[in-house]
Symmetry: C2
Subunit: 337 residues, 2 copies
DNA sequence: CGATAGGGTGCAAACGTTTGCAGAGCCGCA
DNA sequence: TGCGGCTCTGCAAACGTTTGCACCCTATCG
């Protein structure tokens, strides 16, 4: 391993000069700088991150905690986070909690110990646990708000980047309403899900403005299997359309409906949320609320870096847009009753 | 930040004792050890990774380079790698080359600089470039062999963990043959793909033992879109079945066939490779060669750790198993000609 | 010509940890 | 009582950087 000492010796200067030539070139004479950089390149000098990290107290690494890397939602976010961080000179540690809320605190601690800051995507932990896990770590949350404590509890608010859930579901409901649907089913995610709560609340609010009756189908696992379950409930409840908490669920609904011989969108309309890549690959393609997942990941990184540079970052909400595809259509003509 | 010094002072011992009490407990008296660990816990002491990394020359981190995190294949591998590494006390840096071969060398270097070793999954680089990028870094390859140089070139062989491609495609072809198919199309991946080469070669070898004629449909992008393209070629060529390089392609084929009104498996059988989660979610579900992706990721970590501990790791090939689902069936009765 | 300013460089300390070496205390045995 | 050996602990160096401080040299100005 070649160090600053080797470069210094070979270039006939002191190690301070080598360090400066590479880190702050304007502080050393042009001729020296060129010689040093040339020698460093020739010797294949690679700065030792552990050493500079120790000296400067910053690792130039960030951590990312996700509940499930195999979930296409988080895959997209992770990819975007990685790209943005790298563009800003940061490397990213990835940790997967495997949907286990109890693991989150431990993983956050592990990440925080080796990084300058951590990004926590859609944490499954309860509010208190999450707050506890986050003391002393500079973090940014994705798709989860941590309400400010009453006042001056000393807990600094953790910035959050989320998506405009209320607007998204309002658009979805407006679309269905325009198609003539009057009773639409709501398939919520797990009760502990912050996003699900927001989306359901948004639907309820939106329904008040419209001549639409909401039917709560229950809470389900936010995966394909959960959607399969939803489908039967939807059919039993007599709704003509269903809004799913997310795309994975919506895809499960679609699949189950096909197996039960129900035509989509002829007999039932289905709307998802997130617009994962897969939504375009099924048929009929899924009508869904497009959430800018990559942008969310990038924004989260940006907020974290602002905080790391001493700035103060405010929570952000990203706009969403309903994307109409094949899974939604006019309400069936013949009344069922 | 609380350091060994703080703990030492609070416990009334020297920093050496603190360090030893935590790292090699058997070397310090039981009573002292207990006091130190208690004080350390009370003070919330967290060892500084940069410092120990500097001193010991090991970071206890590994790097993982994948071509595309959004590809479910790599998502699964990444998840498994992360889990295994963490279980062994290692954290993992993830880098995504975005399918860009030219980025790989740079990313490998960046990862190698901050880690003890790196895992390279399905690199897209050519042999020479890859070999060059890997000098001086302890690495393990996944799904890619780097043939040993002629002899004694000093290049240490890079261990590789892969899947038994030849056996997989042989099983697939045997299955189709047993169903009566006599002309089967082969949809290859990119020419630069090592796996694709192996699978195509395996098919050719397997076809020789059987009364089956292979029709090379060409090389395609190993994604859904590539598969869409394949489908038209397959229909035009008159084959009754097609073996795709991977599941993503196979899913594209399925989708395109449906849009063109071709019944699967009634009129055409389709077989994939990898068995990504998605393969079970479409209908008909995809008949495919199940590759133990998670096991592959875990094994790769194991090999890397063996090397890091000074051992010598040999390349491994994992067994595969054909999983028959709905996309393959008996050859159509009526002759087309 | 002398004083001063400022650019360029080197010395050495510091970051927090691990560890070789050596000292201190104790036990047991002769 | 003297001595060897063993256990436990502390001292200090080292890992590779960055950076405050001080030095030297040259150029500029009075």
């Amino acid at each position: 391993m070649v160090t600053v000492h080797d470069v210094a010796r070979a270039a006939g200067v002191s190690i301070s000069t080598v360090s400066r030539a590479l880190a702050s070139p304007e502080r050393v004479a042009a001729v020296t700088r060129d010689r040093v950089t040339r020698v460093a390149a020739e010797l294949g000098y690679r700065p030792n991150h552990a050493a500079s990290g120790l000296r400067m107290g910053r690792t130039h690494a960030v951590g990312l905690l996700v509940p499930d890397l195999e979930n296409p939602y988080f895959a997209t976010v992770t990819k975007a986070v990685q790209a943005r961080a790298r563009a800003e000179g940061y490397e990213v540690f990835v940790a997967d909690s495997d949907e286990d809320a109890d693991m989150e605190a431990e993983l956050i601690a592990a990440l925080a110990a080796r990084t300058d800051g951590v990004l926590v995507a859609s944490p499954r932990s309860g509010e208190a646990e999450l707050r506890a896990a986050l003391v002393g770590v500079t973090a940014v949350l994705a798709s989860r708000e941590l309400p400010a404590t009453p006042s001056g509890t000393g807990e600094p608010e953790v910035p959050c980047v989320s998506v405009d859930d209320a607007d998204g579901v309002a658009q979805a409901l407006g679309h269905l309403s325009a198609l003539g649907h009057r009773t639409v089913g709501v398939a919520a995610g797990p009760a502990s899900s912050w996003s699900s709560e927001r989306r359901v609340a948004g639907l309820v609010a939106a329904a008040e403005h419209r001549d639409v009756q909401l039917v709560q189908l229950g809470t389900f696992q936010p995966y394909f299997a959960g959607g399969v379950q939803v489908a039967d409930h939807a059919l039993a409840s007599g709704v003509t359309a269903v809004v799913a908490f997310n795309d994975l669920m919506a895809l499960g609904i679609l699949d189950r409906l096909r197996h039960r011989g129900v035509d989509v969108p002829g007999e039932m309309s289905v709307v998802g949320f997130d617009d994962v890549q897969l939504a375009t690959l099924v048929s009929p393609a899924l009508t869904t609320v497009h959430a800018p997942l990559a942008r969310l990941g990038r924004r989260a990184v940006d907020l974290l870096l602002v905080r790391l540079r001493g700035g103060t970052a405010a929570s952000t909400q990203l706009p969403v847009e309903l994307t109409i595809r094949g899974s939604s259509g006019p309400v069936p003509a013949g009344p069922v009753s």
